[in-house]
């Protein structure tokens, strides 16, 4: 007994953090979305329900490895990350639990969530075209595919294919037109590049504004952020594929961790996240579109106009991600 006691005291001294959250009035979130975005939501949730939320932020891949390694001992209850590809992977690795929730199924459209209920999109990001409105007219544009046309030679700017947003874009392209045709399109893009690919969307837009190229593909919130800072830039958004498949959209989303000890509380939190308060905070905090169609986007975001979105289920982006990366490697898209 003495030995046990002594060991416990020693352990307690060395590892003060040891007692992980076991009470039900707190949840643990692993998040690949950044602190400044999620913290206001967590604070609001605590104010409303009394449930406090502890969190750790990192990139999606290390968080998933951590979940997998910790297995049944994990303190995590909820995983939040960007991109359907990441969510699909987490589900495939068995890290996420199935959730059957009337609230979530009502609030989140079917193409923005896992058909098996393991993850739910919570905000929508549209990956669309942006062009220099001093150099070209919107009538010259039509679709993602058309950017492969030789008339855009030396006029296209793209972000690196290492970014998961482009991987998802190409994955849904494969799902739509098949691998051979998709590869032809991507090769066309590469042939049209004005300069080597950029490391982020903002740089793509700055290059377009500076006249290094005329058109590129970016997520709309980067556009919103850049224009907020420099409203005079000659940049406009264009919604492609409006007569065909629609604009490629992706999500940031969340799922309940399979090994969570507080699945009910975690589900309640997800349901709250699909409701008005959280949707506002999540979408407006980063100028994204709310996943819940009942919530209108922020005024700045609405001003970019309405568009038809691609309603292909986003799990295909995950399923075809590896194919997409290989395709882009073959096509020389760096």
């Amino acid at each position: 007994m003495n030995l046990k006691f002594l060991t416990l005291v020693l352990l307690g001294l060395v590892f003060p953090m040891a007692q992980a959250a076991t009470a039900t009035d707190s949840l643990v979130v692993y998040s690949a979305r950044n602190e400044q975005l999620i913290k206001p939501m967590f604070d609001a949730y605590q104010k409303e329900t009394g449930v406090s939320i502890k969190y750790v932020t990192d990139k999606a891949a290390p968080l998933m490895v951590r979940l997998k390694a910790e297995a049944s001992a994990t303190p995590a209850d909820v995983l939040i990350t960007v991109d359907a590809g990441n969510l699909w992977q987490a589900a495939k690795q068995g890290l996420l639990a199935r959730v059957h929730s009337k609230v979530l199924e009502k609030n989140i459209p079917a193409h923005l969530r896992d058909p098996q209920g393991r993850w739910f999109g919570l905000s929508v990001r549209a990956r669309t075209l942006v062009y220099n409105n001093k150099r070209i007219k919107p009538a010259q544009l039509s679709s993602y595919e058309q950017l492969a046309d030789p008339k855009w030679k030396g006029r296209l700017c793209l972000r690196t294919s290492k970014k998961v947003y482009n991987q998802s874009l190409v994955a849904t392209l494969i799902a739509r037109v098949g691998e051979a045709k998709a590869e032809k399109i991507v090769r066309g893009w590469v042939a049209n590049l004005a300069t080597s690919v950029f490391s982020n969307d903002t740089k793509v837009m700055q290059a377009i504004a500076a006249g290094q190229c005329d058109v590129g593909i970016v997520n709309t919130y980067y556009y919103g952020r850049l224009l907020k800072k420099s409203p005079d830039l000659p940049l406009s958004l264009y919604w492609p594929n409006q007569t065909t498949s629609g604009v490629h959209v992706n999500v940031s989303g969340a799922g309940v961790v399979a090994a969570s000890k507080h699945k009910k509380a975690a589900q309640a939190f997800l349901e709250w996240m699909s409701g008005a308060t959280a949707q506002r905070l999540l979408a407006d905090g980063n100028m994204e579109y709310p996943a819940n169609p009942a919530i209108k986007p922020h005024a700045i975001v609405s001003a970019w106009g309405e568009f038809k979105q691609d309603t292909i289920n986003l799990s295909s982006a995950g399923r075809l991600q590896v194919k997409a990366i290989k395709l882009m490697d073959r096509a020389g898209y760096k």
Partner: protein
């Protein structure tokens, strides 16, 4: 006096010190085991090779990646050698206007993370950046500018970011070498250049090699800077395997190949050095410096200023400008705790790692038997691994230990605790020791190299005990080496991102993780405030320690 002639390797100072080598060896092996565990966890990946990812990589990218990596190694290696040794020679052995200032100022770029330098360079110098925009306004749109997002751009940024490793170690080696040897060389008829190349540099070789090795390992492990330039290296393949194909196995296999390469290179360098010994008398007298005059003095000032401007003053000014723009919305009381956490982790990790490195190095000297040698080699490899990969290795070994602690706790109390090590400050500190052992070991070991065994022998004859020798002789003689080790680890820990992100306790934010919060969603300019704070925090130890080691 020091010699570079080959004498047979002695059996180690332990042979005549008559101390309890067993205890030292045991302690060292334990340290080595802790450091090696994450590498072993990663090496296990080779048990199940991921052939699909491998085939794809070898079909498409691998050749180009290997080529790029080699180009980077050779160019950055020569660059840091030239800048590091050249500048160290200037400030340690020559006198010119401003020498006192450049002496410590040239170490400042150490506090600027390579990825920060990279994003500032691209932000300022790219086509859409301010410099080229203004030039186009003045000179028309046809003006040509060397593309910054290019091979040359990456090399330049890395050389500027990593030369301080060589500068710092070469500088303290030159200072310790003193002037006597050089005078002897001059008396024997060598001119200044010949004396430099045939005496000063060869004698400082262990230190210079340690510095270059650190710079090259940093180059190999870098992911931040190369991804700003979208320059594909071997690390790119590792991340592609993991983040793209979600094959941590393939990523670990690639990482292990990288380590094999490093281990071979390090081994080759040591073999080339052969049995040469590098002991020098501790220089006690005033250093007589070459007084540079006229154009030579001007050239020295110019060289030092240009490097300092490009590697530190300009990028930090740009950061400060960006930071000023967001200071209103970004700066709040929490920054005090970010700052505090960063310094706290840096200081403790620096002490722990340096002590561990001292232990390893001393044991190695007591008795360089094969087991100890292997232990030392393995425990200094981790630095060349991309941070995230090593962090995962560390995390997985902690989780494994946790599971066992938990079953013990369950036996004791009847209920499990969940994570014990994972997510504690303790585990984070341990991860830093694992990651930065090489950083501490290099300076400590090369400082040990310069101590003549005869001094220790004399102390032994006079009846000093083992601890007394370590405390009263070795440690004072190792002072500059130990200070270098402390400083380097301190600054490295402050800049470290992936392990800190993965292993920190809930709610812990450091300046580096704050940078991550911004850059993860592409808000580079908002990251300027934590970045500039990080640089300022890094200045504290740099200035403090340089002052103390200056002569």
């Amino acid at each position: 006096m020091s010699t570079a002639t080959a004498t047979p390797t002695p059996a180690g100072i332990g042979a005549w010190l008559n101390v309890n080598i067993g205890l030292w060896r045991l302690a060292s092996l334990m340290v080595a085991a802790v450091v090696a565990a994450p590498l072993l966890v990663l090496a296990m990946a080779w048990l199940t090779p991921d052939t699909e990812v491998w085939r794809h990589l070898s079909d498409t990218l691998l050749l180009g990646l290997v080529r790029n990596t080699l180009v980077l190694l050779v160019s950055v290696g020569s660059g840091v050698l030239l800048l590091g040794v050249g500048l160290a020679w200037l400030t340690a052995m020559c006198d010119f206007p401003g020498r006192n200032f450049f002496d410590w100022a040239l170490m400042l770029p150490l506090a600027v993370p390579a990825y920060v330098l990279a994003f500032v360079a691209v932000g300022v110098l790219d086509f859409s950046g301010p410099v080229q925009s203004v030039l186009r306004q003045w000179l028309g749109t046809s003006v040509w500018f060397p593309p910054i997002r290019s091979e040359g751009g990456v090399i330049a940024v890395m050389v500027l970011a990593f030369y301080p490793y060589v500068y710092m170690l070469a500088r303290s080696a030159f200072l310790n070498q003193g002037h006597h040897m050089l005078e002897t060389a001059r008396v024997l008829g060598l001119n200044a250049w010949a004396a430099f190349f045939r005496v000063t540099v060869p004698v400082a070789r262990p230190a210079i090699a340690a510095g270059v090795a650190l710079a090259l390992m940093e180059t190999l492990a870098d992911f931040g800077a190369v991804s700003v330039f979208n320059y594909d290296t071997f690390t790119t393949a590792i991340y592609k395997a993991w983040f793209g194909f979600f094959s941590l196995g393939a990523a670990a296999q690639l990482a292990m190949l990288l380590l094999l390469f490093i281990a071979t290179a390090v081994y080759a360098e040591q073999r080339l050095r052969g049995g040469s010994r590098y002991h020098v008398n501790l220089n006690t007298g005033e250093i007589l410096r070459y007084r540079l005059k006229g154009t030579r003095a001007l050239a020295a000032v110019c060289a030092a200023s240009v490097v300092l401007l490009l590697a530190f003053v300009l990028p930090v000014s740009q950061l400060a400008l960006w930071a000023w723009g967001v200071i209103g919305e970004e700066l709040d009381a929490r920054y005090l705790s970010f700052f505090g956490n960063t310094l706290f982790l840096g200081a403790i990790a620096a002490v722990l790692t340096t002590v561990a490195a001292l232990l390893l190095s001393y044991t190695h000297r007591l008795k360089p038997d094969p087991i100890t040698q292997v232990a030392v080699r393995i425990s200094t490899l981790g630095y060349a691994l991309p941070g995230s990969v090593l962090a995962v290795g560390v995390m997985m070994s902690f989780v494994w230990v946790d599971q066992h602690i938990n079953s013990a706790i369950q036996w004791l109390t009847g209920e499990a605790w969940g994570a014990v090590l994972t997510g504690s400050v303790f585990s984070l500190l341990l991860a830093y020791v694992v990651r930065f052992m090489a950083v501490a070991y290099g300076p400590v070991d090369s400082a040990f190299d310069r101590i003549k065994p005869s001094i220790l022998q004399v102390a032994r004859c006079l009846g000093a005990g083992n601890m007394e020798i370590l405390r009263r002789l070795s440690i004072p003689m190792l002072r500059t080496g130990l200070l270098s080790a402390l400083l380097l680890v301190f600054v490295e820990v402050m800049k470290e991102m992936p392990a800190t992100l993965l292993l920190r306790p809930f709610g812990w934010t450091t300046l580096a993780t704050r940078i991550f919060e911004m850059t993860s969603e592409g808000e580079w300019e908002r990251a300027a405030l934590p970045a500039v704070t990080l640089v300022l925090a890094g200045l504290l130890p740099v200035v403090l320690i340089v002052r103390r080691s200056a002569k």
